[in-house]
Symmetry: C2
Subunit: 732 residues, 2 copies
């Protein structure tokens, strides 16, 4: 097996337990499960998260509800439960097979009474049949023969950090090898049914029994293990929610289970189908890096995490900031998806990108309401979005422990004033359109998203009569170290760009889809006066610059804030904000992420090299690159290649690619950094590959790190597949 497709862990380290659980998350774009152990472990944080399965929660409004645990498959050797931190662990290895999505764990364990077993677990979530989840356990007695028991359960007693979301609806069994558990979320009433079948092979006699513990139906299999002989147990689970099957989740789960287990041992058959599906995705989405195995594995790993997080056939859900791999950000969807993650899908899996955009189309209702509540027309997307596009940003969150501001609760303002999200989504639509040439999506969905949000911008713009310009005051830009600022460069520049695209689009629609143009003009109230107003804003919107004219000011007054030499704060293991406090950080020029650089990277065609260099030089030293935003490194890597600093670019690239594998930000336990993964892909393609989307098509100007021999990836350019292969000259 090619080791550049494997993520391998060779030691069981308790301190890294929860971060590694996130790292070893597997999934299929519909559901994911963290890399907890099948036999359980005290102190683990198991989670199975399903797109769109939200339930109300105090403070955070709504969160993805940790689903009943389908995974448990626990052996007892004689009377002793196998537990890695009890008895003796003589060998341990865990491997994630990126190519086919299988997570395997092999270990040799000796019980307190001295019986030694070799155990191999494998599991996967079928990419060919999203409702099918499989786990297999192979047990080989090394130095004994004797009774072994397996417990296969569906566990409804699950929670999100202490908050249970599910009520039991029904538990039962259809025979002694088949159980089911039906549940419903408490406030949102989403129904779910899991069904499981246990099948043991490799021993002449197995005694199966079902034990109905309250909310935890369990199948037990008792058999005799013979020294040196491997016994294989398969637990096949089917999972349906009411979004799949309406009220008939139980019928659907049991029928599917019967279908997939009806022809004898199912593991190999189901894995073949899933692996085939994986092959088709990798064929289009892989990035090959020759000459740097660490970068190669890390890159494939991050792309794997994106591929398992992306909904395949559902246009009503999107990818949360921590994918489906942890409880961070509660499964809420941010700009992370559109700005950071989407390009990977736009260019390698456009059908998935289309679904992700349609999620935003279908949540325009929530965006209308948000605009309306602020007193504006049009559509204003929520900063955090969940089930139906309502604003679900918490207003208060508990302050982190040891927080220097000393408050119990911190007021979160992003839901109120981080308004650039509406342009980010318009940008994503436009970028998708340019990349795919998908006029149909633009006409049927995209145009409305861009125009409806443009209507919001037109209302939101404030006219300063003294200065005679438009402005946006009291906002938060992407750099969240600075709250309540006026004329954030990123916000203003992108809003202006957005209004210009809206005007372009009305022209284009009139030519290419006049009926749609009429409908939208009428429905959204796009009168000539509205369009004139947009033009006026475009002409007169405030954009701040330093006196040299080259460095843009991140927001009005930024240059007057206190300058801090970040080197003086080293060494540190937390963000500058955590170190200095919210208020003090707000008064400095230190950035969580550099808004100006971010904007320059989004619109590369609008800025020359000298501008990029000047802004790079100003903002990079002021950015908290290590513990600030995980969004920044990948994007800055693109700019670093543009100004020719390949060492810096590579350093930033690896910061992005390894963020979770090495837990660089000490928060991987809360979930995979999805946006970082997306930014990493952009860094390799737009940075090292130097790809540019131009009106004449895609151009490339590769600048590979010196030690890379070859970089290879594929893209769809307006529907046509193109392969890019870049090579460094062999070292002379």
């Amino acid at each position: 097996m090619d080791h550049t497709w494997l993520v391998r862990e060779t030691e069981f380290r308790r301190p890294a337990l929860r971060a590694q659980e996130a790292v070893f998350t597997i999934g299929n774009g519909y559901v994911s499960t963290r890399g907890t152990f099948e036999e359980g472990l005290i102190g683990d944080l198991s989670a199975t998260l399903i797109h769109g399965i939200f339930d109300n929660a105090p403070l955070v409004v709504t969160e993805l509800a940790n689903a009943p645990d389908w995974l448990p498959l626990a052996p007892r050797i004689g009377d002793e439960p196998v537990q890695l931190d009890v008895g003796a662990l003589l060998h341990y290895e865990r491997v994630l097979y990126l190519q086919n999505g299988v997570l395997a764990r092999t270990f040799r364990w000796r019980s307190g009474t001295g019986q030694t077993v070799d155990i191999r677990y494998e599991r996967f979530m079928s990419l060919a049949d999203k409702n099918v989840l499989v786990v297999r356990c192979q047990i080989t007695p090394v130095d004994f023969s004797g009774p072994i028991t397996l417990h296969a359960t569906l566990d409804g007693n699950v929670d999100n950090a202490g908050l249970p979301h599910w009520n039991k609806v029904e538990q039962g069994h259809t025979d002694q090898q088949t159980i089911f558990l039906q549940s419903a979320t408490r406030a949102t009433g989403i129904m779910l049914c899991e069904a499981a079948r246990l099948q043991v092979e490799g021993t002449p006699e197995v005694d199966y029994a079902v034990y109905q513990r309250e909310n935890v139906p369990t199948i037990t299999a008792r058999f005799r293990g013979e020294q040196g002989q491997t016994i294989t147990a398969e637990k096949v689970v089917t999972l349906f929610t009411s979004y799949d099957a309406g009220r008939n989740t139980r019928t659907a789960a049991l029928a599917k289970l019967a279908e997939v287990t009806g022809q004898g041992p199912a593991y190999d058959r189901l894995l073949r189908a899933s692996a085939q599906a994986w092959a088709t995705y990798w064929a289009d989405s892989d990035v090959e890096i020759v000459g740097d195995d660490e970068a190669q594995v890390a890159t494939r790993y991050m792309l794997f995490q994106l591929l398992i997080a992306a909904p395949r056939d559902d246009e009503y859900v999107s990818i949360g900031a921590k994918t489906l791999s942890g409880f961070g950000y509660r499964g809420h969807v941010f700009w992370d998806t559109e700005i950071f993650i989407l390009p990977f899908f736009t260019f390698t899996q456009p059908q998935i990108a289309r679904n992700l955009l349609l999620y935003r189309y279908h949540t325009l209702g929530g965006a209308h309401r948000k605009a309306q509540e602020g007193g504006y027309k049009g559509a204003q997307y929520p900063w955090e979005s969940a089930l139906t596009g309502e604003e679900v940003t918490p207003r208060w969150v508990p302050a982190p422990a040891g927080h220097p501001d000393g408050q119990q609760q911190v007021r979160v303002w992003t839901g109120d004033i981080e308004i650039h999200i509406s342009s980010d989504i318009a940008y994503a639509v436009w970028h998708y359109w340019r990349g795919t040439g998908d006029d149909a999506v633009m006409i049927q969905y995209g145009a409305e998203m861009i125009l409806d949000t443009a209507v919001f911008w037109g209302c939101r713009a404030e006219w300063d009569t003294r200065a005679e310009h438009y402005e946006f005051t009291d906002v938060i830009g992407p750099d969240e170290y600075h709250e309540h600022v006026d004329n954030n460069f990123f916000t203003n520049y992108l809003a202006r760009w957005h209004l210009q695209r809206a005007l372009d689009l009305t022209e284009w629609l009139r030519q290419h889809a006049p009926a749609k143009a009429d409908e939208l003009t009428e429905r959204l109230g796009l009168t000539p006066a509205v369009c004139d107003h947009w033009r006026h804003i475009i002409d007169r919107l405030y954009i701040g610059r330093a006196p040299d004219g080259k460095v843009f000011e991140q927001f009005e007054g930024y240059f007057r804030r206190r300058d801090v030499n970040l080197a003086t704060l080293e060494p540190r293991h937390c963000s500058v904000q955590a170190l200095l406090g919210l208020k003090a950080t707000n008064e400095t020029q230190v950035l969580k992420q550099p808004d100006v650089l971010m904007l320059l990277s989004l619109l590369p065609e609008e800025f020359d090299e000298a501008t990029i260099q000047a802004n790079w030089d100003y903002y990079t030293p002021r950015t908290d690159l290590t513990y600030g935003s995980s969004l920044a490194p990948g994007i800055q890597a693109i700019l670093a290649t543009r100004i020719g600093d390949l060492d810096m670019a590579y350093h930033l690239y690896m910061q992005a690619a390894l963020v979770d594998l090495k837990d660089l930000r000490l928060n991987t336990e809360h979930g995979i950094h999805g946006a970082t993964a997306g930014a990493m892909w952009q860094a390799v393609v737009f940075g090292f590959g130097g790809l540019r989307l131009t009106d004449q098509g895609i151009t490339a100007s590769p600048r590979l790190p010196a030690h890379w021999q070859r970089l290879r990836f594929k893209l769809f350019e307006r529907g046509q597949p193109r392969e890019f292969v870049f090579e460094n000259p062999p070292p002379s």
Copy 2:
């Protein structure tokens, strides 16, 4: 047409508008729509309510979300919209056809410019295909020929008393006669799609066009009306929620629409199928009363309302206190369903009764949680239940206008301490079992409900060491005029009965379903000690009586409360509580409903005639029969027949039967009194029919009102249909 199957309104009376909208509610057990006008009217209160479609709401926790309005079909004569209170209304008649569920309205209307039209609307919701709703409009120009336009819309801008619950997801059309509107509830994310097709017949040329107003897709049909010629327009609507079709509500709605409209004019065909389904329900559920047309129509009308409110193929929803006919009680489910409504279905449509009981089975999870939060084991059902069995009783409600207590908000204690609901449900299960002999349901579902709630009672019972008895303190009985009372007779007696049945049941299970007995013993913790404790409670539970030993005391200390002669408060048009205030009423003996009499009627075999008479004599004069609980009259009618007061029985019966047709309690606008309808059926069957469920089978001792010639109804007795015909001797 037999007039005893018609509810007829011959006058358009604005003051009665909203009450009559509730009265003319139609439905099919899945969805209902109030009797608002198809062409709209300022001041109307339109509502389409679907079982299980709940969304969060402030204060009241959750409520049935008024669905996007499928009904509007509005003509314009020339440029003038037809509106009943504009122009001249020359003739008006509205008829509800109870036999086939069609609501028809015929009127002659003259516009401001003097053009006269005859218009007939008909609508129904298919009982043969629950997702299909149909409205037809027939227009005949009386004295002119000229242009007529019809607007057929799906209106997403709906709300519950000002609170909108739906976000638009997508609107569109597939041709110029077919529109759709897809929506999602804001917090619970339930999806819904309505699709509509408009077809006009009877004129050679129709100009169709779709107009996409935001959230209100509209089809317009323009044509020329010719004097004396009738034009018929059909609007067929399909409606699917995500509980029906998962994420595919749009596909499902459009496919079903194409299916039912694909063969030309659909109205007659769809109506035939629906009418056939109605015929099968009436065949088993009708009650025939000969000699009293008012009673006959009112009785059929109430049964019609029960039949349209009852879910047919869904075991995860139940009937709210106001059915699906208004916003009262927000669609929440109370004991109304199990105690008042269920017997009608148990005996005439057992499959529906089974579904209603299973709703309680599937919400045991919520009941566990309620018990747990109170510190008890087992299952405690919520006083108000909605989507998943969570307690959803509001804690505070706005005080009614002019409320004598002068508060802004009233604390509602029922969710905290009205605990008899758990026994009510156990009673309903037992009663269903006795009536149907459905052992399978008892074994698989019912036993767990009875035993799990018995576990709660075992924990809840308090031992009074001084008095050496068990008691239940600080409760509310069914009579909600008295809060925070100790040892409510109804609560105590029924809890004791419940514990006894639980013990009986464990014995029965051990004989008839030993595996289930083992499972439940284990799962619910039914140790011998628990059963002994139940026996102890049964032996020593406090039941209060007057010194004569005959009259039970409604609660401890009731007899010492102030006695009020209700006659001194007449005439009044509101409840005693509204008149005197909460606090003052609480201090009197005045009852909203008589708990003791209620209990006597539930367990007729446990009390002799003398006991009934004594309690009747004491409690009836103290009960606010006119504006107290609408639950009381029907039940008391049963007792009145038992003590031989047929005049009183008939008076009470008609109070129940006419409660909504005559708006007797001045609150019909908020919805039909479902429990009153159920109680009415019990009054006719158990009261006038004198039916008793005994261990030897059903016995009858009819006592008909003197002017009734014949009473006829059918029952299923343990699965076997039986017809009962009772006749008064002809007057000599």
